[in-house]
C-alpha cells in the first residue's frame, strides 16, 4: 500500500530568534511545539506521537523532552541523521499515522550553537572514540567546511563547475532573505561579493557557507480526517525517501549525494517529476550542497548544476526553480547546525500562499523539501519530502 497522502502537515512554526543566550534548548523546543500547535489549531493534549533527533537535549532520545513538555505519547522516534532527520521524521510520522500508532505527531528541532560560540564549520570536533572511523579521520582535521570543500573541488575537476556558478546560489538566497525580517544576512550580494569573500576552505569562500544561528522549528502531522477538520490550508505529504551514503570501504565518489537514492522513491510515490515542482527547499549548508542535490534530485543532468543555478535561475520571480525563499541556511538561519525543518516550514508557507509576497510563487501546488545531514565528504543521509497543496 502506498503511503501517498497518508498524512498532512497541519502545523508549521519557525522560531523567530537567531540568538537565544537566555533560553535553554529545552525551552526552545517547547516554544516551537507551542507555535506549531497554535498554527494548527490544536492543543498539547492532542499530541500522541513525538519525533526528535540528536539536537533534543537529554541522553535517551526523546525521553527528556517528552518529560519536559509533559506529553502523553503512544509513539516516539528519535532517528538521528543530523540535519536530514526532520525530513526522515516526516516519513516516519506518516508511517506511524498510517499504521494507527499515533494520530497527531509533533516534530521539533532547536539549538543554539551561536550563543554557545561554536566554530561550527571550521573546527574539527572529536566524536566518540568508539566510532570506528574516528582514529582514521580525526588526525586529518575533518571539519564541516573542508569536508564539503573536498566535494566542491572534485565536482569542479570532473565537471568544470566554477566558483562563480556556486556564488549564484548565495546570490539567489540573498535576494530572498532581503524580505525576511528574521534573516541574519539581509543584504543582497553579487557573484563578485561571494568570490571575493575570504577563503574558508578551498574552494569555498565565507559566503559559500551557511550562517551559524540559534533557533528552531516544529511541525504537526496528522491523518487526513483530522487535517480536513482544521482551519488551515491542506498540505498533503505525497512522497518521502531516505538513504545514507558513506565511504563504501574506500570506493568513494564525492561528486554526488544521497539525494540520488532518496529522491527516486519520493518521486515514484508522488507520481510526479522534477519539472512539475513549483518551489524547492534544498538543504544549503554550503552552496555546493545545493548544486549537487539539485543534480541528484533530477532537476538537471549530472554535472550541469553549475549552468542550472547560474544567472538567477533559483530566484523567485526570475528563474525557473525558486528555491529557499526564506533565505535558507545561507542567509536566514541554521538552528542547531541542522537546517532540515526550516526547509519543510518554508515549503509549507509556499504551498499555503503564506510566503512573503515578494517571493511567493504563484499557484504553488507542488513543492519539495530535501535535507542532508552529516558530511558529504565522509558520510551523510539524504531525505526527500514532496508536498502537495490540496
Amino acid at each position: 500500500m502506498s503511503l501517498k497522502g497518508a498524512a498532512y502537515i497541519a502545523g508549521a512554526w519557525e522560531h523567530p530568534t537567531r540568538k537565544a543566550p537566555d533560553k535553554s534548548i529545552a525551552l526552545l523546543h517547547a516554544e516551537c511545539a507551542k507555535g506549531a500547535l497554535e498554527d494548527a489549531g490544536l492543543t498539547k493534549d492532542d499530541i500522541d506521537g513525538y519525533f526528535c533527533a540528536g539536537d533534543a537535549p537529554g541522553g535517551l532520545g526523546p525521553l527528556s523532552m517528552v518529560d519536559y513538555m509533559n506529553l502523553k505519547c503512544r509513539h516516539v522516534d528519535s532517528t538521528d541523521v543530523g540535519g536530514s532527520s526532520y525530513q526522515v521524521a516526516v516519513g516516519h510520522a506518516m508511517e506511524a499515522i498510517a499504521a494507527g500508532r499515533c494520530n497527531i505527531a509533533l516534530i521539533t528541532l532547536s539549538g543554539r550553537p551561536r550563543s554557545e560560540g561554536q566554530a561550527t564549520g571550521t573546527a574539527p570536533r572529536p566524536g566518540n572514540p568508539a566510532a570506528p572511523e574516528m582514529q582514521f579521520e580525526y588526525p586529518y582535521g575533518p571539519a564541516t567546511a573542508n569536508l564539503y570543500g573536498m566535494c566542491a573541488a572534485r565536482h569542479m575537476y570532473e565537471y568544470g563547475t566554477t566558483s562563480e556558478q556556486l556564488a549564484w546560489i548565495k546570490v539567489a538566497a540573498s535576494h530572498h532573505a532581503q524580505y525576511n525580517p528574521n534573516a541574519m544576512l539581509r543584504d543582497v550580494v553579487t557573484v563578485e561579493d561571494v568570490v571575493n569573500s575570504p577563503m574558508v576552505s578551498t574552494p569555498l569562500h565565507r559566503l559559500d557557507c551557511c550562517v551559524i544561528s540559534d533557533g528552531g522549528g516544529a511541525l504537526i502531522l496528522t491523518k487526513p480526517e483530522i487535517a480536513k477538520s482544521l482551519k488551515r490550508p491542506l498540505v498533503k505529504v505525497i512522497g518521502v525517501g531516505e538513504s545514507p551514503k558513506h565511504q563504501a570501504g574506500g570506493e568513494i565518489d564525492l561528486t554526488y549525494t544521497a539525494a540520488r537514492w532518496s529522491g527516486p522513491p519520493a518521486w515514484e510515490m508522488a507520481g510526479i517529476k522534477p519539472s512539475d515542482i513549483k518551489y524547492a527547499s534544498i538543504y544549503d549548508s554550503f552552496t555546493i550542497t545545493v548544486l549537487m542535490q539539485l543534480e541528484d534530485l533530477g532537476f538537471c543532468e549530472k554535472g550541469q548544476g553549475g549552468k542550472f543555478v547560474a544567472d538567477g535561475n533559483l530566484i523567485s520571480g526570475v528563474g525557473k526553480l525558486p528555491f529557499n525563499t526564506d533565505g535558507g541556511g545561507l542567509c536566514s538561519n541554521h538552528p542547531a547546525n541542522r537546517g532540515g525543518i526550516t526547509k519543510i516550514i518554508e515549503a509549507v508557507r509556499q504551498l499555503r500562499g503564506e510566503a512573503h509576497p515578494s517571493v511567493q510563487v504563484p499557484n504553488c501546488d507542488l513543492a519539495i523539501a530535501h535535507g542532508t545531514g552529516g558530511a558529504l565528504g565522509t558520510r551523510h543521509c539524504g531525505s526527500t519530502v514532496i508536498l502537495e497543496r490540496e
Binding site: 571550521t122 574539527p124 572529536p126 566524536g127 572514540p129 568508539a130 570506528p132 572511523e133 574516528m134 582514529q135 582514521f136 579521520e137 580525526y138 588526525p139 586529518y140 582535521g141 575533518p142 571539519a143 567546511a145 573542508n146 569536508l147 570543500g149 573536498m150 566535494c151 566542491a152 573541488a153 572534485r154 575537476y157 575570504p198 577563503m199 574558508v200 576552505s201 578551498t202 574552494p203 569555498l204 565511504q247 563504501a248 570501504g249 574506500g250 570506493e251 568513494i252 564525492l254 565522509t378
Partner: protein, 133 residues
Amino acid sequence: MAYTARKIPFVGTPDTNPETKPFFQGADAGKLMVRRCTSCKKVHHYPRELCPFCFGSCEWQEASGKAKVYTFSVMERANPPYAIGYVTLEEGPNVLTNFVDCDFKALKIGQDVKVTFVKTEDGGPSMPFFTPA
C-alpha cells in the same frame, strides 16, 4: 605559501583494539598496512576484520605507498593552514589524509603522491600522510 607543519591530534584506541592494532604498528614502523579480503580479494580502508564488500575474512598487506590525489581542500582559516584530501591508493581504496611538505598552491587533483609518516601529538601513534612523489 610556505609549508608549516601543524600538530596532529589523535583520538582512538590504537593499543587496545586488536582489529586495527597492526595498522598502527605498521605506521610506527613506516609501513602503510591495508586489508585485503581472502574471498573477494578486494582491498578496503579504513581497516576492518570483516570485508566491507562481502563480510569475508581479511589479511593484512603492506601497500606500496603510491597514490594519486582524488580531491583536497586547503583549510585556510586554520593557523597554520592544512590540506585535507583523499588519495586513491595503487591497491584501490581511497584514503582520507593530509598533504604535507608541499606548496598547497601547487597541489593538483590527479597528481602522484607517496606516503610518509608523521607522529601524532601527546605520544600518539604515527599516521600516514602524503607528499608529492
